[in-house]
């Protein structure tokens, strides 16, 4: 081996070490969260964690069901609000509006993706919560408020990824359909959207991940009562809020139970990630 080759090999090894940092960090995070969170789950039984309805962490009652249901409810709510708005915007901006309008609006929407989540939460607290309280009743701090705020927060993600995947559909598809006498909307519905489907789905899954992982904005508008909400106007607590609300003062088993909350959140997110990876991989293969 010449000195140059030896040098090259050393650099390669060094870079490999660096390149392994992301996966190592992922591994360390996983290990830490699970190491801190699983013992208590097994001590009191998985069932009492996943299906228990009572969260009194200072009295050894660690039922996370209200938070699991809460997270799923607000995430579903966010999708119900964010996906139609986002998809409609993406379709409008790619297929029905002037190019110039799209050129202005797409960057604006993407810039708004950078607005910190606390700001969304704050706006929700100042405007949305009072609005709900006065017009629909209840405390205002509610499933509905959290869903709307999260739905707005995922808009930029959903719109921008949907625009990209709709744009990636070759123009020849559209021309073919129009040539056959289809209207523009028929073309979009029957040709463009099916072709862009997996990209759009990946965007939605990404938005879903963002919604389920969001913490600060939700805390500010959701009311945070650890009960299963009986209506969309009732307050709700999510897995993320559960951690953030109590972390500062929790100790002993209480803290371990918060890590257990983290474990469950982690598993849900990983399932979503894998789904997103699979869909984008399928898209790439096409």
């Amino acid at each position: 081996m010449t000195p140059l080759e030896r040098n090259d090999r050393l650099i390669r090894i060094g870079l490999l070490m660096i390149a392994l940092s992301a996966i190592s960090i992922l591994a360390i995070i996983t290990v830490f969260i699970f190491e801190q969170g699983t013992p208590i789950m097994f001590k009191y039984g998985l069932k009492s964690f996943l299906l228990g309805r009572d969260w009194y962490p200072t009295e050894q009652s660690f039922g996370l069901l209200p938070m699991i249901v809460g997270s799923l409810m607000v995430t579903a709510g966010a999708l119900i609000i964010g996906v139609p708005l986002g998809l409609a915007s993406a379709i409008f901006l790619t297929e029905f509006s002037h190019r110039r309008l799209t050129r202005i609006l797409k960057p604006v929407i993407e810039l708004l993706a950078g607005i910190p989540s606390v700001v969304y939460g704050f706006i929700g607290l100042m405007f949305l919560v009072p609005f709900i309280r006065e017009n629909f009743g209840g405390p205002g701090l509610s499933v509905l408020a959290a869903s709307i705020i999260l739905g707005i927060m995922i808009l930029p993600t959903v719109i921008s990824i949907a625009i990209d995947s709709i744009r990636a559909v070759p123009d020849s598809y559209r021309e073919g359909s129009i040539a056959l006498g289809a209207t523009k909307w028929q073309t979009v519905r029957l040709v463009v959207l099916p072709a862009a489907r997996s990209g759009i789905v990946a965007g939605i899954i990404l938005g879903m991940g963002r919604a389920i992982g969001e913490t600060m904005a939700v805390i500010m508008v959701a009311g945070n009562a650890a009960n299963i909400p009986d209506s969309i106007l009732a307050p709700v607590r999510t897995l993320t809020s559960n951690i953030a609300l109590e972390m500062a003062y929790a100790g002993g088993e209480h803290r371990e139970a918060l890590f257990a909350t983290g474990v469950i959140l982690f598993i849900i997110i990983m399932i979503l990630n894998t789904l997103a990876n699979v869909t984008t991989a399928r898209q790439r293969r096409k």
Binding site: N7, D8, R12, L15, L16, I18, A19, L20, A22, I23, I25, L26, I28, I29, I33, L85, G86, A88, S89, F92, F96, L105, V108, I109, E110, L111, L112, G114, I115, P116, S117, V118, V119, Y120, G121, F122, I123, I152, I159, W185, Q186, L206, G209, G213, T215, M216, I219, M220, T240, A244, M247, F259, G262, L265, F266, I269, M270, N273, A276, N277
Partner: protein
């Protein structure tokens, strides 16, 4: 379905167009509304004094200097750690290996890391840096946690930027007698720089806006931080606490305005760089 069957395609198209138009307007208006509210209520609060004085009485009085300083240093620490790791990873993936199971594992790691919610990073940073490594609530703990959080962004943007460097440059560099490392440092990285910088700026934006991961690792001390081991409160955390506890809405709006303006400036710069860079490539 039945509705669709009854309508003429032309009519259907008209109706759909109206629906799409209104949905788009709602989406855009809501997003713009948020911006306008923050700026309208926040801008009047801004003054030189607000930016150059420390908070007094939990933020009821005074300015936000210490939180600006904390934000800048925390972000700096995060980038000092994440940039070499991210760019190094990108160089390895693009220049030092061919696609294999190793690259797939590395990419998988980065993609998963990108999907982890910030509160999990916060939990992790709290256990590892604050407790186990005994850094306490400090800018170091917060900065390292943020570094891990933005690492995937830097990897992805750097990789894209490096891949966009024409293959011919590499061949020319080798043909003139460069080693691989010289090729990377003298030809590839300078050409990829705008793209790499874009990723870094994007990460700055994320670090500035982050709350959940920071509040449990850097803490929320209002003092001007004096060392990396000082606990410190960033602008986002300060804003969160003031808004949540209702300490002072005017000051909260002011802080939010500074936060939003900095992030918008950063994102506009990124956007400009990306446009310029992509246009140049094409």
């Amino acid at each position: 379905m039945s509705l669709r069957l009854k309508l003429k395609p032309k009519t259907e198209q008209k109706i759909i167009q109206v629906i799409l138009y209104s949905f788009t307007s709602i989406a855009v208006l809501v997003l713009v509304f948020i911006l306008v509210v923050i700026l309208k209520n926040g801008l009047p609060q801004l003054s030189l004094e607000f930016l150059t004085r420390n908070p007094v009485d939990m933020g009821r009085e005074g300015g936000i200097l210490s939180t600006i300083v904390a934000t800048i240093f925390l972000t700096l620490i995060a980038l000092l750690v994440a940039t070499p790791l991210g760019v190094g990873t990108a160089i390895f993936l693009t220049e030092y290996t061919t696609e294999s199971w190793i690259t797939r594992v590395i990419r998988f790691g980065a993609e998963c890391l990108a999907g982890i919610p910030s509160i999990i990073f916060g939990l992790f940073g709290f256990i590892l840096f604050v407790n186990k490594l005994k850094f306490g609530w400090s800018m170091l703990s917060g900065g390292l946690t943020l570094a891990f959080m933005v690492l995937p962004t830097i990897i992805r943007t750097s990789e894209e930027a490096i891949k966009a460097v024409p293959e011919a440059y590499r061949l020319v560099s080798f043909s003139l007698g460069s080693t691989r490392w010289q090729m990377v440092t003298r030809v590839v990285l300078p050409s990829a720089l705008p793209g790499i910088v874009t990723g870094i700026i994007l990460s700055v934006g994320r670090s500035i806006g982050e709350t959940a991961a920071v509040i449990f690792t850097a803490g929320s001390a209002l003092r001007l931080p004096t060392s990396v081991f000082s606990s410190a409160r960033t602008m986002s955390v300060h804003f969160y606490i003031m808004a949540k506890e209702g300490i002072s809405m005017p000051k909260a709006y002011g802080t939010a305005a500074v936060l939003v303006i900095s992030i918008l400036l950063i994102n506009v710069t990124t956007y400009y760089l990306m446009e310029k860079y992509i246009r140049r490539k094409k």
